[in-house]
């Protein structure tokens, strides 16, 4: 079986308008890298049915897993569940298991389980619920699409619920070397070393510190011995 891959779909006008700074992408990237399921593509789209449907179809067909963030609350602009159901060709309704979960939650708090809150029980047929220990309203997994909330605390809790159900690949290991030399000074030798290790991925990331440019050289791969060998070569070539 080939190694698993992942894509993310962030849904929400508030990200695209600059009102909200997304943090779920950064969190998901780190978690998936550690699990050995490399995040390979991310898309951000508005709260728009056709845009969500198109993106879910493209990403679901292209990757082992798709993680969505946002648009599963009780308000009229929360249209993710219906759009994902449409994209995957699944019927959707107020499902009994989610209705029971939410009904008990609001009853215990003396809050009305009104039409808006019942909207959060709209779950596609055949989907598995994703546990939400923060605010109960569940996410769901339909096929290879994991539908989660946009609020970071809830997104992170739902991801923690989903993660143990996924088969990971070999974890991606990363090591880096920080140099106070500009990329232009190290690029040629760095490219030669990278070419000698085609099984590893090597990147360089410039930074600016007190007006001087420096470079972080990063090696990524799954074989710790090969990474150690490559790091030794980078140290021999560049370190003071």
């Amino acid at each position: 079986m080939p190694n698993p891959t992942a894509a993310m779909l962030v849904i929400g006008d508030e990200i695209l308008s600059g009102r909200t700074r997304d943090s779920n992408m950064y969190h998901l990237a780190g978690v998936l890298t550690a699990k050995g399921i490399p995040l390979t593509e991310v898309r951000v789209v508005a709260d728009d049915h056709a845009s969500i449907v198109d993106a879910v179809r493209a990403l679901s067909a292209g990757y082992s897993h798709v993680f969505t963030s946002g648009g599963i609350g009780p308000t009229h602009d929360d249209i993710t569940a219906d759009a994902v159901a449409a994209a995957m060709g699944a019927p959707i309704s107020h499902r009994a298991d989610a209705m029971a979960l939410l009904g008990a939650h609001y009853a215990a708090r003396g809050l009305p389980f009104n039409e808006a809150r019942q909207r959060m029980a709209r779950i596609p047929d055949g989907a598995q619920l994703i546990d939400n220990p923060v605010s109960i309203a569940p996410g769901f997994t339909l096929g290879n699409v994991h539908v989660m909330a946009g609020v970071p605390t809830i997104f992170e809790a739902m991801l923690a619920s989903v993660l143990p159900t996924l088969v990971g690949g070999p974890p991606l290991i990363s090591q880096s070397l920080r140099l106070m030399q500009g990329e232009g000074d190290i690029a040629t030798r760095f490219a030669a070393i990278a070419a000698a290790f085609p099984d590893l991925s090597m990147g360089s990331y410039p930074f600016n510190q007190d007006g001087r440019f420096g470079t972080n050289l990063v090696i990524r791969g799954t074989d710790a011995a090969r990474i150690a060998l490559a790091m030794a070569e980078l140290n021999a070539a560049f370190a003071a």
Copy 2:
């Protein structure tokens, strides 16, 4: 002429691996919203030729403007310029104007203008250079694609150079009302008000403060008088 739209393409393994937290998307979203060029889609792809080519083609065909971030430095993993040229069907070479700019810069600093640094002069035929006051190596505009650096200070400086050349639409105005009520308590009335203002976009964004859920109601649109009218209705319906 219809109002302009924009998409962003973030390029870089370091974002997808979780090593680096992207900040350019948030910056671009705010700047474009103020300019009246709504950011409508974002994609993040790896340093991979085919992935960049596919994304540039799709976004260039779908939106008035595409802004790219990352992959235009001197190292072997900087492949954005060649990929954008391929996507747009333009020849690319070490262009004389960029060679002169960079040559003078490194000569003045006594640094070698070596093969790696010359790589940053690879600019497609027909592209306009984008000024880089931070580190000289230019970005470029080819057709409707604006190719900029990934380092935030340089991305922001390049964007400031490009922005005056773009024709904006009516600026998007946004107003919000912060409530210490959960979304489920306000959703039905909020949906009715939103339906009465089809020319405005209304969204609700839950937050958690000291263990209690609250909601920010946000109205977005281009007509200040209509937004004021809608805000008055929200205040009448929800404010204490």
